[in-house]
Subunit: 425 residues, 2 copies
């Protein structure tokens, strides 16, 4: 912490850095697909060389040593670690983004008006994007790759726990940009994690085009409160699966197990299971057997039907566990489930299991969430799964991008019109 | 002004009203197209009856009397007036919105993934929209109609000059909603124009889904600074027409005259004309003849070629006149024009006149504005002209809606997925 620094000492450099990044964004916006892909391939190749791996590992060791000193929780330490396997994954991710189609310059919704004026919307980069995130250092590489490919410049403000790792990874991008004749400032890491610098960054109306906070509720609230630029929030996922009275219980069991256990630490994992009272007797005992190793927090009606479960505490519902823990409640039909989700959901991912046409249709229409599913695991709310390719995260903001933010969601659509001397009459 | 009121006295009612409007938004979101159209038709019929016209005229007279007392500028007084012709226009507008297709519930981008999961994006209402605007009372009717048709509830905070008129017009909507069995709170007028109440409204994260400020720069800055909800700004239009060296000068003249004089008081009217030095001698003397009644502010290079023009002052460029005034500058080719627009434009509407394929392509790609035109008047950046039907205004925010905001732009897209027991492997 730089508690001794005056606000002005933090704000002026932030504005200067963002100003240079904004200038770089104009160059990126005009860069060809080939050059942008070459930057990603250079970064991938660099991250495969032993020298760079050693440098990144050394930086990561620095972060891990500090984490040990600060007695960081084991789950958080695990997110910090950059081992060979995770570096391989970053390399694969870079090549995956390079292989995606370039969104920039595409004309969509083209039409010829009655008067002969041809109009369309052109996909263009947003400009300069600020990403404010917490501990995972791989976000640095993923976010930089997506921004470069979509023709945007990016200012990265990572968490203090991963500061050295992020610096080493950002340096790889800076080198790759320079080698392709692009300004290194197109990928800029904020050189401090002081919140006053973050506040200065997200206050830069007219410079920063979008702020994306990813992380805990505190971080997102801070950004939302202080931003004077558009914000797309990536809030937590309190995802529900509702097992309807008309469900195929075998499908329901498979979906529940997959949604909870396939990867419990991510935002699209199920956190609460709702069961219609009419099938609770038949379903819950099976669930108890299938959810081995999962701690179950059951409400008063579910508890007698779930051997081994504990009683749900006051905060059991609406809670994002990100672990092998699950809240379970018995509800009175679709109405009960809709009311529970409206109250406790986080507008992320909500699934129903039912064979009823009418109930499936009501669920799809009435649930307000970035992804609403019928007879499918919540784990499908994911850019790769939904066919977008890589993603920046899952937006819970309704505007512009509700759900996974891929390359197209990192672009704006401007109107273009081609006339032959057209005037209005 | 209610200077004696404590902040808390203003904030609590704002939160209560918005909370009721939010509840109403859930009802509106589920309302059928027929019912929503019936509300608009009822409002139209009401605004045709002599009783309602008399009530609205009386309220408007109240506003006009106060305007005279406050010695409001004639242009502002003119915007306030609700005569028979303007009331007829509101009625026609309501029926036009009713005739547009309902955007809610449409599935777009439908695809079947390799694993058989069918995914699509469903257009859904945003929820509760707050509109903060200035003097024109017709905005009350236009905005309410567009919000109701798109299944959104709306909180309207109009200008203090039009307060009585707005109250009378909002009452028409409340009656129409009630008559169709919908909650009257779906169209709520804030009963004070105190800025603290506005601040409270736009701070309601989780209640208000979007704030749209329309009006002067001061109002938009105030909303941007204090909002904790997404904001789509409708900033001013400093629109340019660039007459290129390769222009057809007859087309250029017709476009320039249309862009400036067809309706000078609106945001998509031209405010600055740029002329390539290579055609300035040929074009500017013609322009002077064609722009009768327009006050011309010419830069040093244009002045000798424009009989009757005055010398451009320091603030002549980048200025939104909204009147029969025009700034004129001679620039050095496309590069000069691009630089001028990048510096002085407001990301609204920018047109080039050229017969050069290469220059047209560069203009379309490189100019950052909500609408970029080739050989067409800036007046085409308009919802009706671009085929959207009625609009809420022209957004200069890049996210979500860049350019005219029609019914589709008042909706979000949520993901929906239809499976048969799909799980991730």
């Amino acid at each position: 912490k730089s508690a001794g620094m005056a606000d002005a000492e933090l704000e002026a450099p932030a504005a200067g850095r963002a100003g240079r990044a904004k200038a770089a964004s104009r160059v990126l916006a005009a860069a060809s697909t080939a050059v942008k892909n070459a930057v990603l391939e250079r970064a991938a190749v660099a991250l495969e060389t032993p020298e760079v791996r050693t440098a990144v590992a050394a930086a990561n060791a620095e972060d891990l040593a500090r984490a040990a000193e600060m007695q960081l929780a084991p789950a958080l330490v695990d997110r910090l670690v950059l081992d060979e396997k995770r570096m391989d994954a970053m390399v694969a991710g870079l090549r995956q983004v390079a292989a995606l189609p370039d969104p920039v310059g595409a004309l969509v919704q083209h039409r010829r008006l009655e008067n002969g004026l041809e109009v369309a919307r052109m996909r263009v980069p947003l400009g300069l994007i600020g990403i404010v995130y917490e501990s995972r250092p791989n976000v640095t590489v993923d976010a930089a790759a997506l921004c470069v490919k979509s023709g945007n410049a990016v200012v990265l403000r990572g968490g203090k726990e991963a500061f050295a790792s992020n610096r080493a990874l950002a340096a790889v991008f800076e080198d790759a940009l320079r080698a392709e004749g692009l300004p290194a400032e197109a990928v800029s890491l904020v050189p401090t994690t002081d919140r006053r610098a973050t506040k200065a960054l997200i206050g830069l109306e007219g410079v920063l085009d979008l702020a994306i906070p990813r992380g805990g509720t505190g971080l997102i609230r801070f950004v939302t409160e202080h931003a004077r630029v558009p914000v797309i929030q990536h809030y937590q996922g309190v995802c529900h699966v509702y097992v309807d009275g008309a469900a195929d219980l075998d499908k329901a069991l498979a979906i529940a197990v997959n949604a909870k256990t396939q990867r419990p630490g991510v935002c699209n994992a199920m956190e609460t299971l709702l069961v219609d009272a009419s099938v609770a007797d038949a379903f819950l005992p099976k669930l108890a057997g299938a959810m081995e190793g999962v701690t179950l927090h059951a409400d008063g009606r579910a508890l007698p039907l779930l051997p081994g479960a504990g009683a749900a505490g006051e905060d059991a519902f609406g809670h994002e566990y990100l672990a092998l823990e699950l809240a379970v409640a018995v509800v009175d039909g679709l109405e009960g489930a809709l009311a529970h989700v409206a109250r406790h959901g986080s507008q992320h991912t909500e699934a129903i299991v039912t064979e009823s046409y009418a109930k499936a249709r009501r669920w799809v229409r009435e649930v307000d969430a970035s992804c609403v599913l019928v007879n499918a695991s919540t784990r499908f709310n994911d850019g790769f799964q939904l066919g977008l390719g890589a993603e920046m995260g899952i937006s819970t903001t309704k505007l512009h991008a509700y759900g996974p933010m891929g390359l197209e969601e990192l672009c704006a659509l401007k109107w273009v019109g081609f006339g032959e001397g057209h005037v209005r009459t």
